[in-house]
């Protein structure tokens, strides 16, 4: 099946500055988080995917067609960029309607779709107000409305939650998840890792123009051998539990918390570890257990050197 988005050995530079360097990957439908430090190449990645620029080497394809130079394929792509557009004079609804008309729709259907898109991003009550008077959060949602209005199959969102208050943040996260469930491909680039985690478990991590990791967060985490898993356990009989854990060959180290209730262990085989805790959990009175470095933040920190 043709992947929604594919990079084939794509490179792009700006004079001497490298944007992305020999990137090859395929993106299947659903939501994918695009992560990386500043200057890693995320914007270049999105601009290539959106057909705004062409790769210097290799190819960038959406649904099998190169994104550069084909206006047909652009109909199936929606981009919400990080920067602001200039739509001071028109109302929000007019802005989206005009863009749809540029895509070839007639006035009436364009207006209907615009209204629907604006409702989806909760701008319905201000859609006839001048876009120039919008707050930062409203402008952001207007960008999102523009991106989804023509019902594209591939969506590219650059920092989609920028400027949004917590209520709208939650709403857009749900919107992204819904779009993913509808079968669309949504690539979300963001620095706010816990929000990316709320949207999806699939990530593409890039740094210095190259792909560092790609796949589900748990998979990526499991492969990071150099960083054994750290698990914190709270138990009534802390020392008793620790005695059992120390005996296990895959447990690298065991540390006690200062309050006498916690023990933190490092293990190379998390599942074996959990099985061991499960075996003794009831007897030792375990009331809490969690991996302290299993989340996206930790994965990011391990993979991207500071």
């Amino acid at each position: 099946m043709t992947p929604a988005l594919e990079f084939e050995g794509a490179s792009r530079w700006y004079g001497p500055v490298i944007g992305i360097n020999d990137v090859s990957l395929k993106v299947a439908p659903g939501v994918v988080g695009l992560l990386g430090p500043n200057g890693a190449g995320k914007s270049t990645f999105l601009r290539l995917a959106a057909g705004q620029i062409a790769p210097n080497r290799g190819r960038v394809l959406a649904f099998g067609t190169p994104t550069w130079g084909s206006s047909a394929i652009l109909q199936r792509i929606g981009l919400s960029p990080e920067t602001d557009g200039l739509w001071a004079r028109q109302s929000g609804r007019d802005v989206v309607t005009s863009l749809l008309r540029l895509n070839g729709l007639e006035y009436e259907p364009a207006r209907e779709r615009a209204t629907a898109a604006l409702a989806r991003v909760r701008l319905a009550d201000v859609q006839d107000r001048r876009a120039g008077g919008y707050s930062k959060g409203m402008r952001q949602r207007l960008k999102l409305a523009q991106a989804i209005a023509h019902d594209p199959d591939l969506l590219l969102f650059d920092e989609p939650l920028n400027g949004l208050d917590p209520v709208n943040r939650r709403h857009v996260i749900e919107l992204v998840k819904t779009l993913g469930r509808e079968g669309k491909t949504v690539v979300v680039s963001s620095h706010v890792l816990h929000e990316v985690e709320a949207m999806t478990r699939r990530i593409v991590l890039i740094n210095k123009g190259r792909v560092l990791a790609e796949g589900e967060v748990a998979e990526v985490r499991a492969l990071l051998d150099a960083h054994p898993h750290t698990v914190a356990v709270r138990a009534r009989d802390v020392r008793g539990l620790a005695r059992e854990l120390v005996a296990l060959p895959h447990v690298r180290s065991v540390n006690f918390g200062t309050d006498g209730q916690w023990v933190t262990a490092q293990t190379a085989e998390p599942d074996a570890f959990y099985a061991a805790v499960q075996e003794h959990g009831d007897g030792c009175g375990v009331t809490e257990m969690y991996a302290t470095d299993d989340d996206l933040e930790s994965v990011f920190r391990y993979l991207v050197p500071r």
């Binding site: 992560l35 990386g36 430090p37 500043n38 200057g39 707050s135 930062k136 959060g137 409203m138 400027g163 949004l164 208050d165 917590p166 209520v167 709208n168 943040r169 939650r170 620095h191 706010v192 890792l193 816990h194 138990a235 009534r236 998390p270 599942d271 959990y274 099985a275 805790v277 499960q278 075996e279 959990g281 009831d282 030792c284 009175g285 375990v286 009331t287 809490e288 257990m289 969690y290 991996a291 933040e297 990011f300 920190r301 991207v304 500071r306």
Partner: protein
């Protein structure tokens, strides 16, 4: 300096309006010393509150006190003890970092030599020691945020007002900034008012929150009190036969529901959480994490704003 008892901020029936538009409608709140997160939807009064605290807007009625001072009466006295870190870019063209921060100190009333010495100290503290002789125009986003923090700290304020301090920072930068803010709040005993939309930032740095929506205070108080824990409710992540696990749990009298891969479980009567391990073993499942179910700040916020 405020003593431990007097509030950091005290609002009493505060009404602030721009002509016919009432931005703050008779709000009252006492904010304890420490770090407070100021939350609220855009355009709902948060910005007006900040402007009132800084003395830029005079209330129509009611009283406001910051560190025991009244910004409506003497805004300059308040600003002398306050440091403000704006969200937008703020620097002076042509100056390098140490020159800029020293100048900011002079503007706050320090004499030039003291301002220079403090500027270097503060730049070291925020981690810009290496870049202090470079022009601010050439700085990256992360560095600019740090310079903004430095210029807010240079005159040794008692209260720091921060507007979206992690805006535009990548994960590493955000981590470092939050570390700095935690250090400032905890070790240096500078009070913080953190205005942001990023609730995890508030959870990490602040002791209390103030939620402002529709011109009113919707929630207020120490985080520990607002974020409640439901007794005997736990978040459990399980691998293996989840269905069997849940069925067995139900049979024993407990409840469990699947939220995107994590099970929200209510324990059966008289059970401690450790018995879940035995249950999992007998159902053929593996428990991978077990945590008390705690409301997040987001839950608190959404509930407060919905009313």
């Amino acid at each position: 300096m405020t003593n431990a008892d007097s509030p950091l901020l005290h609002l009493e029936d505060l009404t602030v309006a721009y002509g016919p538009l009432v931005a703050l409608d008779g709000i009252s709140a006492r904010v304890a010393p420490g770090a407070v997160g100021l939350l609220g939807p855009n355009g709902a009064g948060k910005t007006t509150l900040l402007r009132t605290l800084l003395g830029f807007v005079r209330p129509r009625s009611g009283r406001v006190s910051v560190l025991g001072l009244d910004p409506a009466q003497d805004p300059l006295a308040v600003r002398r003890r306050l440091g403000y870190m704006p969200e937008a870019d703020a620097y002076i063209a042509g100056l390098h970092a140490s020159g800029f921060v020293a100048y900011a100190g002079e503007l706050a009333g320090l004499d030039p030599s003291e301002a220079t010495s403090r500027a270097h100290e503060v730049l070291d503290y925020v981690g810009l020691g290496e870049a202090r002789y470079r022009a601010v125009e050439g700085f990256s986003t992360g560095m600019r945020q740090r310079v903004k923090l430095a210029q807010a700290l240079v005159h040794d304020p008692d209260l720091l007002l921060l507007d979206e301090p992690t805006s535009g920072l990548d994960p590493a930068g955000r981590d470092e900034m939050l570390d700095l803010l935690q250090d400032i709040a905890a070790r240096l005993s500078v009070h913080l008012v953190l205005s942001t939309h990023l609730l995890p930032d508030v959870e990490r740095v602040c002791d209390s929150v103030l939620v402002v929506d529709e011109g009113r205070v919707k929630a207020q108080g120490p985080l520990a009190e607002l974020v409640t824990q439901r007794r005997s409710a736990y978040d459990v992540s399980v691998r293996g036969d989840i269905g069997a696990f849940l069925t067995d749990l139900h049979d024993e009298g407990g409840e469990g529901r699947d939220h995107d891969g994590v099970l929200r479980v209510v324990l059966p009567e008289g059970w401690g959480p450790e018995r879940l391990f035995t249950l999992a073993k007998s159902s053929g499942a593996l428990v991978r994490s077990l945590r008390p179910a705690v409301e997040t700040l987001e839950d608190v916020f959404l509930r407060a704003v919905e009313k």
